[in-house]
Amino acid sequence: MTPDPVHRRPGELLFALLLLVFSVAAFWQSYGISGFSGKTTPGVFPMLASGVMVISGLVILVSATRKPPRPDDAPGFFADVLPLNYIVLIGLVFGYVVLMPLVGFVVSSALFLFCAFQFLWRKNPLVVLMLTALTLAVIYLVFREVFQVVLPQGTLLREYF
């Protein structure tokens, strides 16, 4: 078991609280399935599972409040847990998965790979462009030919492919 760190991580308290709120909501929803009307109704097991979540969520929250926060000069939430490059990358991925069914695998992946490589690697755009083309070609060949995966074609550009 990895040892529990001494100090509370930034945002840990909020996360524990969110988990507890989610667990309580899940329990409420589970109760709504069939209530306490019987012992073999579909709602019993979900209530057991969410009940365990509520109890362990409480324990997690209490132990998080007991831990002292980090010293003031330690990196905060946005420096340590969610720095800017995370927000940008998650945003890029989100754009990618939204675009994929619209413009198809090839176009969306090319855009995503180029932006992500450029953002994370910061090399000459021409080098990045070549890398993007190369990796995309390899991925396309391997998955289309070897794995025979149906790649999304995209509803907007269907006529052109």
């Binding site: 990895t2 529990d4 073999t40 969410s50 362990s56 998965v97 994370l120 910061r122 991925i139 790649l151």
Partner: protein, 502 residues
């Protein structure tokens, strides 16, 4: 017997299957070695790509990746002091100091031979014990399966991660995710909120790829600019005297690995640490102190984590309960191919069981070949920058998730689970129990209800059934012992009792 041999030989005679096993092993070594790529990640992405294949082909590839990946972690552990996989943490402690002395090649050679040795012990145990356990498992009642499921999830939850509460939370969250959709017994909707998309349930492959692929890629973003260190490689084939010297140690470590692997919920990483600990205690006069390049400390964890591969297959194939996170993913693959791992698997589809044994053996042979060659080329590829790796993982994860049902909604699920998984990992939760919960949740639910119906809805009868049958009694005792030893319940009870005495 002859029939068994015939099934076993399928994996060895079809050139295409041999090729798949070989390329799986080869790819697995790199996947395991490149920090940031894990075996679980690779297998979960792979099953989404291979689900349209023939079962044998998919299994040949996955067996190879599993074996190669468990071994591959040791190479980066030795060369770069970065365990490529959690199961190679102990390897790094002894292997990197050896590399710094200029004995990297020898260390790699020795770990390869011992990994392969451990692998064979695990496979042998699988071939010998699975049929026995399987016939024994026919006597298991629904309550026993429920108990095994709970034990599996709790074991994963307690042995990894920061606290029991976090492990229990992750496991229960997984069970809850597994509950979403139409109830298989009454077809009532659970957590569907009237959405057709949710009625079919949350696709577990999307959850797996999200938690193991995207979440892991996001965690890796923290170490984007860790520079790589170069090592000199010389002699690779280990001395025969060395192999002979460490034989008994490797055998014992393999035994530990097989048993730990076979326990539901515990896998190679825990096996490796326990075997390392055992080697530390049992080696009387070490050549070099442990932690400074001791060979015993290198041999034991490597033999153990590869032995755990065969061990982990035992509960998966005989009981339908995965032995660790990777087998949880593989069991998902078997479900997709319409197979039901459990005590009847060996009776109804013996060819499948012996085929798995055959392709694992073959993968182990390839491991020996690839393990002792191509190390110079290997060091080049492992230096692949993370800035290139992370976007690639994300593209593969997205395409993989999409490929299962051609449904873009699955990809949104994957991304959501990826982000949640990242936060969970950041705050000290493990994602392994979540996946085990997703896989085992529905099984536990239906077994709970069967047990309750059999007890005629009477709580007293229901509880009595857990202690009135020898198998159930053993499992119940095991679960209670685990709960008492891992939670604050025991000190709490003791305090309560001593207060009363005062």
């Amino acid at each position: 017997m002859l029939e068994t041999l015939g099934f076993f030989a399928i994996a060895w005679t079809d050139p295409w299957l041999i090729f798949l096993t070989a390329s799986g092993t080869f790819a697995g070594i790199y996947v395991g070695a490149i920090p940031g790529l894990s075996v679980t990640m690779a297998t979960s992405i792979l099953i989404s790509f291979t689900f349209k294949w023939d079962v044998n082909e998919a299994l040949a590839l996955i067996s190879g990746v599993f074996f190669g990946g468990v071994y591959g972690g040791s190479r980066t552990a030795i060369l770069l002091n970065i365990p490529g996989a959690p199961s190679a943490i102990a390897t790094a402690i002894e292997g990197y100091p050896l590399a710094k002395r200029g004995e990297a090649g020898e260390a790699i050679g020795l770990t390869t031979v011992m990994s392969v040795f451990g692998g064979f012990v695990g496979i042998l145990a699988l071939a010998l014990f699975a049929p026995i356990i399987s016939s024994f498992a026919l006597m298991f009642q629904s309550r026993d399966y429920m108990l095994l499921g709970v034990i599996g999830i709790f074991l994963v939850g307690t042995l990894s991660g920061e606290s029991f509460a976090k492990g229990a939370f992750a496991g229960a969250l997984g069970v809850l995710i597994g509950m979403v959709g139409l109830d298989p017994m009454t077809a009532e909707g659970r957590f569907t909120f009237g959405s057709i998309n949710l009625m079919g349930g949350i696709p577990y492959v999307a959850a797996m790829i999200g938690f193991f692929g995207v979440a892991e890629a996001l965690v890796q973003l923290h170490t984007l600019h860790t520079p790589a260190i170069k090592q000199k490689i010389d002699r690779i084939i280990p001395k025969f005297s060395d192999v002979k010297k460490y034989f008994w140690l490797a055998l014992r470590a393999s035994g530990i690995g097989t048993i730990i692997g076979a326990l539901p919920g515990t896998g190679g990483d825990i096996a490796a640490l326990l075997a390392y600990d055992d080697a530390k205690r049992s080696t009387k006069n070490p050549e070099r102190p442990f932690g400074t390049g001791n060979r015993e400390g290198l041999v034991a964890p490597e033999a153990a984590n590869n032995a755990a591969v065969g061990g982990a297959h035992i509960p998966m194939l005989t009981l339908g309960i995965p032995g660790d996170a990777v087998t949880a993913v593989i069991i998902g693959a078997l479900f997709i191919h319409g197979l039901k791992p459990g005590p009847l698997l060996l009776v109804e589809t013996p060819h499948l069981f012996w085929f798995i044994v055959g392709s694992l053996t073959l993968a182990n042979v390839f491991l020996l070949i690839f393990g002792l060659t191509g190390i110079r080329m290997f060091t080049k590829i492992v230096e692949c920058p993370k800035a290139v790796l992370i976007p690639l993982i994300i593209v593969l994860s997205s395409v993989g998730t999409y490929a299962i049902q051609n449904n873009p909604v699955d990809v949104y699920w994957m991304l959501l689970f990826g982000v949640i998984g990242y936060f969970m990992k950041t705050y000290g939760f493990q994602v392994g129990p979540v996946i085990l919960g997703v896989i085992l949740g529905p099984m536990m639910d239906s077994n709970y209800r069967r047990t309750m119906i059999r007890a005629r809805q009477d709580i007293g009868d229901f509880l009595w059934s857990f202690v009135s049958n020898p198998i159930s009694l053993i499992l119940t005792t095991g679960l209670l012992l685990m709960l008492l030893s891992q939670t604050p319940l025991w000190p709490f009870l003791r305090r309560l009792l001593s207060n009363k005495k005062d």
